[in-house]
Symmetry: none
Subunit: 407 residues, 2 copies
């Protein structure tokens, strides 16, 4: 619901800690999950005096990507707000995206020429080594800086992947990204022509087609990776920023570009830690404590180890966070939330659909419902199982930032 009419002018500080991929499943014969196996005395003590529960990031049975998972935590229903593939790719590589931009994911492919007509031989250029990717991207970046007055920004991802941002001279109207992929999803056929579904998209499509040609000209002598296929053209989604939606000055403390980028999409300010550890992130939290009302603190490694199927690694990161937790409590936030953007059970080696444990600490909770911070104990908690995008409402309420609804 629209909270703007209910917003108080002030209220307490809110800390949202996202332990990426937090939730898990039984990893051993005894049926215990990563959270149950981890030795986390501080988290468990906090859970006992907090409101606990589990959130469903997107919908029952739906496995969220990082984009939808974070949008939900930021209070935006991910079924309504969708972030295009190109935008996520660009954010993940630390590129800025603006209202004037269309972002694309590119794949280096190998083509042969029939006359001057390219025919796809390998859609991923044999999963080009990342070093090769960087070398070829440098060539492109040097030669193709602009197409038709549109600025071209390109950055290497892993293996055959790149992100491209087309920066137009003026903001683009919504729908300008309704363009097909040029990747034909098959070999032995020519790349597709980009075509737009409306006049604005047709203008962008024309730029993409000219870019394809210009790039091909520059890299045509590469034995592998002599062509760029484009996918997932996308504009920055139209999202009401945190300051307007919640009246919050919000800071994002994260190490990985994707999460900084997602936070910036909703208008948070990026505050960079000096190092990459959880301790470094909390040090940064302390440093900027007086400058913001809301703090998003992102811990990546819980997810990374989950994706590797490394339960021990995930457990160690949980224990590492547990040791640092008292430093956050010392700041005495009005509201401290600890949760994840989705579950990443190490037995599944990937994101999953399972509801994610939530702990919300404030002076205004029942408490004493959950004995520890685990999936099963959170099931007994006062928050129940609820849609992830409702969490921000609970955060604001507990920070006494919401007025009564109706008289």
């Amino acid at each position: 619901m629209d909270l703007k009419p209910l917003l108080e002018k002030k209220g307490g500080k809110i800390v949202l800690v996202v332990l990426d991929g937090l939730g898990g499943l039984p990893v051993r014969e005894d049926g215990k999950t990563e959270l149950e196996l981890a030795d986390t005395p501080n988290l468990d003590a906090l859970a006992r005096r907090s409101a606990c529960g589990l959130h469903v990031p997107v919908d029952y049975g739906i496995t969220p990507g990082s984009g939808p998972g974070h949008l939900a935590l930021f209070g935006y229903d991910p079924k309504e707000y969708q972030i295009g593939r190109g935008i996520l790719e660009a954010l993940g590589l630390g590129m800025e995206v603006r209202e004037t931009d269309v972002a694309l994911r590119g794949n280096f492919a190998t083509v042969r020429y029939e006359g001057d007509k390219p025919v796809v031989v390998d859609r991923r250029a044999g999963r080009l080594p990342t070093e090769e990717n960087r070398r070829i991207v440098a060539k492109i970046a040097e030669k193709v800086k602009e197409v038709d007055g549109v600025k071209v920004l390109i950055k290497s991802g892993k293996e055959h992947r790149v992100a491209v941002v087309l920066r137009f001279p003026e903001p683009l109207p919504p729908g300008s990204d309704e363009i097909n992929d040029t990747d034909p999803q098959a070999v032995g056929v020519p790349p597709l022509k980009a075509e737009g579904k409306n006049p604005n998209a047709r203008r962008v499509a024309e730029v993409i087609n000219k870019l394809s040609k210009a790039v091909a000209e520059v890299i045509k002598d590469e034995p592998k990776g002599n062509y760029l296929l484009f996918r997932g053209a996308a504009q920055k989604p139209q999202i009401e920023p945190f300051s307007v939606r919640y009246g919050l000055r919000a800071a994002a403390i994260a190490v990985y570009p994707m999460y900084k980028g997602l936070a910036k999409l909703v208008g948070m300010e990026e505050v960079n830690p000096e190092g990459e550890t959880i301790a470094d992130e909390i040090e940064t939290l302390k440093r900027v404590w007086n400058d913001y009302d809301f703090f998003f603190l992102h811990v990546k490694k819980t997810d990374s180890y989950g994706e590797d199927g490394n339960a021990e690694g995930k457990i160690k990161v949980l224990e590492e966070f547990d040791r640092e937790l008292p430093k956050i409590l010392e700041l005495e936030p009005a509201v401290l939330i600890i949760t994840g953007d989705h579950s990443t059970p190490s037995v599944l080696r990937g994101h999953s659909w399972h509801p994610v444990p939530v702990l919300l600490h404030s002076p205004f909770v029942l408490g004493q419902t959950s004995r520890a911070f685990t999936e099963r104990e959170c099931l007994k908690g006062e928050l129940g199982i609820f849609p992830g995008y409702k969490l921000m409402q609970l955060a604001l309420a507990n920070a006494l930032r919401l007025k009564k609804f109706g008289a």
Copy 2:
């Protein structure tokens, strides 16, 4: 949400067992429900290693009919997809319904004539004995095979009830069933004329009026049941079939026509057991195991005994299912769900609004939250209380048939 973009091309087999009217209420002084009184060691053991919860078939406090209850289990929100009374009646009597059809429920009534004008004397013809019904229907079926080029199919129900299917030569556009009942809901007045709310419905209404006349002519000399009143004109609902919606080849194993009919409405194939027992149904499940991805297995008697207020009978059916359960487990379905389409507490002698226990077994559950398969133990489960129509999403997720949503 639309799952089609998320569907994997393959995945595990899913078995959905519907114990009709499963949920109950305390039946004795000690406060125990039918499920709690039943001796079900296999179900209880399975519940301990499954995800448990309760589903709300339609909405809080809403008592579902069999149609809405099953639509929800099949993943269609029953508040959006409605099945007309005439269609349910026809399905319940084992009649096929097609895109070309309008189905009606008919009641034998007794009328007297003022000149040639019929006036209703008894709206149910004194609850005509079923045998009499059959005799009169046979007369009608012989004499009235067609009206205005529209095929007329009629079948006896119980007492005064019949179902009629009008089969037009071509598919009817939506809305062709917007027609009033001819039953005036009162005696001492003439039957109502069928009237359509739009041109297509007016054409169907005209056929109904001509049919009323033709039938009256054939049975005018019957002392009781000399007229047919029509209610609930309905077309086959427009429902996206299972194969498209979920990419599943689905089989329906049921004994009663209504449930076979409901399953066929969503595109399942009817697979008929040799006999009528639960063991016969499971034998059929084994027989067709390799031919389908999804199996709906319907057990009726839990509901029938509930409706009779016969708690002991309901308990015995639960125990009978429990004894057969290991045969289903031997097939090793990727996902096994055991639930009901609604509750039928024997103390209420009818369907009720109470959430229905659910057990979902797959390798990807927490488990160890519920000690038995009962209403109270399911409340402690990891699925919580959730909308019934979300169950199919959980089934697909647990069968690893859904891709990640967003990147």
